[in-house]
């Protein structure tokens, strides 16, 4: 427990910087704690993260602004504007401010002394240059730059910026080319409550978007953000899966659903490859040809080279595509077969077929686990009804019939992992290092299918306790196999043990 406490302290002292590389700190901690308690370490495939609710996100901005306000001796509003200009990097802001305060203030559009948004009586001969109205009746507004506009125009202008353009970081004076900005208080003085609420929502969004160690949970209707302090540059060797409090597991690096063990860059490449129909096109070119006469596509399914187009009855040679009539009696072997041109065409065809077959091998397994996960869920829903029925008619408690849900959840997450192991394997260069990976993958796959099969068994009332035990045991085992796969792949990534066909780092 002492170790955890010191971990925590270390954390806090670095809390301010988003540029701090947490890996270094974590490694030092590990060396220390290694000797004391091996188990206190997180698993190789896990990252440290924090779930923040919306109110915590709001609070974090206030806390940071308070801190800066105290350190730099500026108002809370001004501190907020400075932080926004510095993407909430407190260290960099303070450092810059110590060196060249005026430059920093100008960049953020912050003016220390003067009051913002002065309300004035329209001067003699005033014409608002937005609405061109010259009736000097209402009040006019202006900032220290002296550019004044009538109050309704100012309100319309700010409303347009906030509601239509979603602007919240810096809103300038409406005059063309004027770089004076309005602070939050000035905006609040002009716009209605509804617009101000929107402005605050936009600010919260910008806070998370600008902050490299934060990401919104992508689950629909979830308002949480997750904080993860690993550097983005490390996501080629770490797969930062995080778990939101809402139950959604997702990748902090790219926002997609959990894709361990494949790093983000690999996932991106794989998805692009699967979406590209060029592979399909390759298949077509490897397996079909067009009839030389009517251009309809012909798929070769037998070994004989004497082809007859089903549509136009044109007879031709599959090898050289020439009319069959010219082949005379040498029908058993096209004599143009050894032409350099034909040889090249054949090599090309063989190559593209081999690469396609390799892709399909991995793709089919990848797609199959996705499909199977759906079927598992369907099966579960059906079984669940049966279990409820059973619960009503037997001695079993609700908790006792819950084991299926647990098992299906394990099964689903294992299938998702397995699925990505195939994308991982597709890019992996074979070596003696990869044998262990393949063994682990196979063990997980066998275990997953065994559990899946067990769930398909018809449920008999008398044997339910027995089944429950079997299922739970199997689920624990399967989960263990998954951990082995993840642990090995994560360590391999961290140690640079894996070699991939295409450089993944550059694609990140």
């Amino acid at each position: 427990m002492e170790i955890e406490a010191s971990d925590f302290e270390d954390y806090d002292s670095h809390d301010e910087g988003s540029d701090v590389d947490y890996d270094d700190t974590a490694e030092e901690d590990i060396e220390l704690s290694d000797m004391v308690n091996e188990k206190a370490r997180r698993k190789a495939y896990e990252v440290d993260f924090n779930v923040l609710s919306l109110s915590e996100i709001v609070l974090a901005q206030v806390t940071a602004s308070n801190h800066i306000s105290g350190v730099l001796g500026v108002s809370l509003q001004q501190a907020g504007a400075l932080l926004r200009a510095y993407k909430w990097n407190k260290e960099r802001l303070i450092e810059g401010y110590m060196d060249t305060p005026q430059e920093i203030l100008d960049q953020a559009g912050v003016v220390l002394e003067e009051a913002q948004a002065l309300i004035l009586k329209p001067p003699e001969g005033f014409v608002c240059s937005i609405c061109f109205d010259d009736s000097e009746a209402g009040a006019v507004l202006g900032l220290r730059c002296g550019h004044t506009f009538c109050q309704p125009c100012y309100e319309y202008y700010l409303t347009q910026k906030i509601m239509e353009e979603g602007e919240c970081r810096r809103i300038f004076c409406a005059e063309s080319g004027c770089s004076v900005t309005l602070d939050e208080q000035a905006i609040a003085n002009v716009v209605p409550q509804k617009v101000m609420e929107r402005y605050r929502v936009l600010q919260d969004r910008a806070y998370v978007a600008d902050n490299g160690s934060l990401r919104w949970c992508p689950a629909p209707n979830c308002e949480n953000a997750v904080e993860c302090r690993h550097l983005h540059s490390s996501f080629s060797i770490i797969v930062p899966t995080v778990a939101c409090a809402c139950g959604n597991n997702f990748c902090f690096g790219c926002g997609l659903g959990d894709h361990q063990p494949a790093p983000c860059g690999l996932v991106k490449m794989w998805q692009k490859k699967c979406a590209d129909d060029s592979e399909t096109a390759n298949w077509i070119s490897a397996n079909t040809k067009e009839c030389g006469k009517c251009q309809s596509t012909i798929e070769k399914n037998g070994g004989c080279n004497h082809m007859t187009c089903r549509k136009c009855k044109y007879e031709f040679c599959w090898v050289c595509m020439g009319s069959w009539l010219e082949h005379g009696t040498s029908w058993y072997n096209c004599n143009r077969f050894d032409d350099p041109e034909s040889t090249d065409a054949r090599d090309q065809q063989a190559k593209s077929r081999a690469s396609l077959e390799r892709y399909l091998h991995y793709y089919n397994r990848f797609a199959n686990h996705e499909q199977s996960a759906k079927l598992d869920q369907d099966l579960y829903l059906k079984t669940e009804k049966k279990m409820e029925e059973m619960q009503r008619t037997s001695e079993l408690s609700w908790i006792e019939v819950q084991f299926l849900k647990k098992a299906v959840d394990v099964l689903t997450s294992c299938r998702m992992t397995l699925r990505w192991t195939y994308a991982f394997a597709f890019y992996l260069t074979k070596s003696n290092m990869t044998e262990l990976f393949e063994d682990n993958q196979r063990d997980l796959e066998v275990a997953v299918e065994a559990l899946s099969e067990l769930l398909e068994k018809p449920i008999e009332k008398e044997k339910i306790a027995e089944l429950r035990q079997q299922v739970l045991d199997k689920a624990v085992y399967v989960d263990g196999r998954r951990e082995v796969v993840l642990e090995d792949t994560a360590r391999g990534l961290a140690d640079g043990r894996w070699e991939f066909h295409t450089s993944i780092e550059t694609k990140l």
Binding site: C131, C153, Y156, A174
Partner: protein, 146 residues
Amino acid sequence: MFARRLSKELKDLAMNPPAGVEVVDANDFKVWKLSLAGAPGTLYEGEKFQLEFNFGPNYPLESPQVLFVGKDVPIHPHIYSNGHICLDVLYNHWSPVQTVASICLSLQSMLSSCTSKERPPDNATYIKTARANPKHTAWAFHDDTV
């Protein structure tokens, strides 16, 4: 709210037009056509171009959609052959104090400072992919000296 502004702009344009600018057609507050004559002593001297302004309901809070129309689109490094104009004040540097007249002046000075009549280097690809409304293009402004 802003109809008054456009009617005043129209009056000003009629009474006090910037050099070389003429209102061709302004029957409503939605679409205006203006002509722009190349300034004397510039590469465009003697040429006349047609400009179309489309005003949205939020004008002048939102910029109008402005493009060259007709068969003569100025040959200029910031003007695409489909009439789209790469000029920051028309897009992200728009300010509601800009007017039709001030836009015409900006365009006039853009033409006048041109030293070599040529299309933007990416003209061919741009016109193939661009949407009809130039405001839907994500403009990158690099060089406003040309």
